[in-house]
């Protein structure tokens, strides 16, 4: 086998350009003759736009053109890609999301006007001269208030602020109610899943270009999925056919979900470049990112877990209010529904589950998928209520979990998914080992000597990744297929270019994907190059999110490579004058079984392109294959996490002492990259648990709109992590046996942290504290201790 095949911790080839400042991010792209756009954004949360006077601004130095909502009234709104059907069988209420605000502004940051100038400074200066007359309306901020009779409506043309009320599984509702009524014990918990802002370090950027030569438009944008942007923007917003529109996402500085969606600024620069016949560039400031990037989470939930007299889980019921913000972002409606409700079984055999969700419009930035998307919300509720139940029943929280683990696979949950494989006992055993759970009592005693309270929090998680079987999601309301694709182009000398639908913005695809093909063919990975992020080069495919790149796009790449190998074997058989069935491929060499006759990989690839001695009557020349892969099921990574905290009872400050994660990701291509993915996910989960919160005041002002107000995890806020992924139950339905690892850390870590804090408080005699909402700040802990 070559060095650097499957299972090798190959160093990343993309690192060299990033380490030397040679990366090519969207803001590094400057086109000849480009103008700059600055968006004038609403500084009120809700109001009627009475007039937008641009006359003075248009006379300012350097101003090229100013556009307002009036220019977009005939142009499509930004579409939502998932139609949820409510519990009565009706479609969700779906308001128009104009490119520039029209009639009303609906959140702080809603774009009102776009000033295009010769420099960004001139555009900003001119924006200050625009006179906007807004009749301010009451801001709709609190979700429960938004649903009251007579509440101010965010969208005047909708019936009310309820996007939909979803019940899942509606047919189980009465049985769940009955089981809870008759249960030996019911544990109830009300909690908030805090509103977060994804904050990839690279702010969004969009550059629109237009060619008068052939009337083609090009958009350079910070996207996780350029084909999705081309589809949505071309077909639904601007009416540009696919072959006249190219979308390029070069190096992208982190995504975490918030760069999945199609944003107004992308449509604007593409459209404006067509109007002006010159490139138009927009670079988000961080302040704009806070008030225009889709936010994440923001669920308010009541959960009830019913147990029988032997502590077996018998039923689960949840009622959630999910904030949609002011408009429906691209996948907003799927997050609190299909990505959340289907995970409520967790790792446990609870026979009856009912999930109810009210999705609510408010005068806040749209809320959509953020790392984990629905699955962290499900995991947090479930793992917190189990911990509370264990405390109420006086049983060990790990034992209670173990008792209720699903242990036989495949397992059909009562929430419509079928786990193909897993081993939750193995990951819990591994966790107990690497976290040294047995040694906790001694560590607690040490902390207590210092006057600190020490807590241990443990939880499990499961996630549904590798989204998704197209026929299934089509039934559930997705307005797209969710396959992926790869084209494997073998060049004459044997090197390979692989054009993939997945997009790498930190995940290391350029290194890991070649490891797979190198293993299959037996050649050096350096002969293989991954091409991604340009719709003019890659096949139509759906991109990177939901921990899907390897499971879905990687599978497409395997299928395409299998086609290559099959064809190459037929060519080799011709060259060696034997039948196809006699050819074996090993270590980059095609040999005749049982003989010493062989031809090299390069001989065959050259023959494919210089077909002088070649069976042209049977086989086409060339060696290039494409495969589209539509997964048969989701994949189900799972694991167990443990967090230890020290809590200072004098101040309420929580410090993370250690964090351990035992994950089952199935087979692993590059362990180093997988470790890194888990590390980063855990840091974001710790951020959610202890630090991060997007805060709106009652008037809809976003109070946490800079890094001075929104607490991003810094190096001193997090520990070193112990992570292990030696427990491997390979996925049964994709060719690599892989499950996905990108979101696990962010899904699995928040409950471990909060469980640890509650454990610490109980060890100090604060038994009345059963829950503290995230972020568990010193102020909140201290206040709870005083109650």
């Amino acid at each position: 086998m070559p060095d650097g095949g499957i299972g090798a911790s190959t160093k990343r080839r993309e690192d060299v350009r990033f380490l030397t400042g040679a990366g090519n991010y969207t803001d590094d792209i400057n086109l000849k003759g480009q103008a700059y756009v600055h968006f004038l954004r609403s500084d009120v949360a809700h109001g009627r736009l009475k007039s937008v006077d641009t006359a003075a601004a248009e006379a300012m130095p350097g101003v090229v053109r100013i556009f307002t909502g009036a220019d977009f009234e005939e142009i499509g709104g930004l579409p939502c890609g998932w139609q949820v059907t409510d519990k009565h069988g009706n479609p969700m209420q779906e308001p128009k999301h104009p490119v520039l605000a029209s009639g009303k502004v609906r959140h702080v940051g809603d774009p009102i006007a776009a000033v295009i100038a010769e420099s960004v400074q001139q555009a900003r200066d001119a924006a200050e001269a625009i006179v906007v007359d807004i009749e301010e309306l009451p801001a709709v901020i609190n979700m429960k208030d938004a649903l009251k009779d007579g509440a101010t409506k965010v969208h005047d043309d909708l019936d009310n602020n309820l996007c939909f009320a979803w019940g899942f599984v509606e047919d189980n509702r009465e049985a769940v109610d009955q089981a809870i009524k008759n249960a030996a014990h019911v544990t109830t918990l009300e909690l908030v899943n805090n509103r977060l802002i994804a904050n990839p370090m690279e702010p969004r950027v969009a550059v629109g270009d237009f060619s008068r030569h052939n009337q083609d438009s090009t958009l350079y944008t910070t996207s996780q999925n350029p084909h999705v942007i081309r589809l949505l923007m071309g077909a639904f917003v601007l009416g540009i056919p696919e072959h006249k529109l190219r979308v390029v996402s070069p190096d992208v500085g982190g995504g975490f979900g918030t760069k999945i969606f199609h944003y107004a600024e992308e449509a604007f620069v593409t459209w404006a470049a067509r109007q002006l016949h010159r490139p138009v560039k927009w670079t988000s400031t961080r302040a704009e990112a806070f008030m225009s990037d889709a936010h994440g989470r923001d669920h308010v939930t009541k959960i009830e877990l019913a147990l029988d007299a032997d502590n077996n889980f018998v039923a689960l019921r949840t009622d959630t209010h999910a904030n949609m913000g002011a408009y429906l972002s691209t996948f907003a409606s799927s997050v609190p529904t299909w990505l959340h409700g289907t995970l409520m079984a967790g790792n446990y055999k609870t026979p009856l589950i009912y999930v109810h969700v009210n999705a609510v419009f408010t005068n806040t930035v749209p809320v959509d998928a953020y790392r984990g998307a629905g699955r962290p919300e499900a995991t947090f509720q479930l793992e917190r209520v189990i911990d509370k139940a264990a405390r109420e029943l006086g049983v060990d929280p790990i034992a209670l979990r173990r008792q209720n683990f699903i242990s036989e696979f495949p397992y059909a949950t009562p929430v419509a998914v079928e786990y193909d494989t897993g081993d939750y006992v193995a990951t819990m055993d591994k966790l107990e080992e690497i976290a040294d759970i047995a040694g906790f009592a001694a560590r607690r005693a040490e902390s207590e000597k210092k006057g600190k309270l020490r807590g241990l929090g443990v939880n499990c998680y499961i996630e549904a990744c590798g989204i998704a079987p197209s026929n299934l999601v089509g039934q559930l309301g997705a307005r797209a297929g969710l396959y992926d694709a790869a084209t494997v182009r073998v060049n004459a000398t044997g090197s390979i270019s692989v054009m993939v639908g997945a997009h790498s913005h930190g995940q290391g695809h350029e290194t890991a994907f070649p490891q797979v093909i190198a293993e299959m063919i037996g050649i050096d990975p350096s002969m293989i190059e991954i091409v991604h992020g340009d719709t003019s080069k890659i096949p139509f495919a759906m991109g990177t999110y939901g921990s899907r790149s390897l499971a879905v796009c990687g599978s497409a790449m395997v299928r395409a490579t299998e086609k290559i190998i099959n064809k190459a074997k037929r060519i080799a058989a011709h060259l060696l004058e034997v039948s196809d069935a006699d050819i074996e491929l090993k270590d980059g060499k095609f040999s005749v079984a049982g003989t010493d006759k062989s031809v090299d990989w390069g001989d065959v690839t050259l023959s494919a392109y210089v077909p002088h001695n070649y069976p042209l009557e049977h086989i086409e020349p060339g060696l290039e294959e494409t495969a589209f892969y539509d997964p048969a099921n989701f994949t189900y990574p799972a694991g167990a996490y443990a967090c230890e905290v020290e809590l200072d009872p004098e101040t309420g400050k929580v410090e993370i002492c250690s964090f351990a994660a035992a994950d089952d990701f199935g087979n692993i291509i590059n362990p180093m990259i997988v470790d890194g993915q888990v590390h980063g996910g855990i840091a974001q989960g710790i951020g959610q648990a202890l630090l991060e919160r997007a805060v709106y005041d009652d008037n809809g002002q976003l109070l946490s709109a800079s890094y001075m107000d929104y607490a991003m995890p810094r190096a001193t806020d997090v520990p070193s992590y112990k992570v292990d992924h030696s427990c491997q139950t390979p996925c049964t339905h994709n060719p690599l046996g892989v499950k996905g690892c990108g979101e696990a850390g962010a899904i699995g870590s928040p409950p471990a942290v909060v469980n640890a804090v509650i454990d610490a408080l109980h060890s100090g005699g604060h038994d009345h504290i059963t829950h503290i909402d995230m972020p568990v700040s010193p102020a909140r802990v201290w206040a709870a201790m005083q109650r």
């Binding site: 990839p200 500085g253 001075m708 190096a715």
Partner: protein
């Protein structure tokens, strides 16, 4: 407009800037050295860290005119002229201390300043020093490990991967 002249990565450069032009704008837009990044507008994230007269500074917090006559080093000046990575850059690759790469130039510039002042920093000292550099991808674990390794220290003490 003001004329400025400075030495950037060993080369003398000059240009005309507005009084309000930030050093980072001069570096990225006038000199087209796009390795230095802008990740925020409040001097918090550290993606724009460069060295001015040997000190690590956030180039979004300094006017270009203030650097007039000075010596500036950016990420493009760190590796050897033949492209060989510095020991610190190499350690970042060896220990997977970067993912999306956007914060990385600032991390390298900050960490190299740290190692100049404190050649063998402890894990706690490294974490403290990096307070002004935000990374959203790595969870910092492998960044800390890379910096310790680059300073010739045993990294087995950092929790197993």
């Amino acid at each position: 407009m003001t004329d400025v002249t400075m030495t950037v990565n060993g080369k003398t450069v000059s240009g005309k800037v507005e009084g309000r032009t930030l050093l980072v704008e001069f570096i990225r837009e006038h000199l087209e050295l796009t390795g230095t990044h802008v990740g925020c507008d409040t001097s918090q994230c550290g993606a724009c860290v460069v060295h001015v007269n040997g000190q690590a500074v956030k180039s979004c917090t300094m006017l270009a005119a203030e650097a007039d006559g000075g010596t500036v080093m950016t990420i493009e000046g760190i590796s050897a002229p033949d492209g060989t990575l510095s020991a610190l850059q190499q350690a970042f690759q060896d220990h997977h201390g970067l993912q999306c790469g956007f914060c990385t130039p600032g991390m390298i510039m900050s960490a190299s300043a740290l190692l100049k002042d404190n050649p063998k920093p402890s894990e706690a000292e490294i974490r403290e020093y990096l307070e002004g550099n935000i990374c959203r991808c790595t969870g910092y674990h492998n960044i800390v490990k890379a910096i310790m390794a680059a300073s010739g220290q045993d990294v087995s003490a950092i929790a197993a991967e």
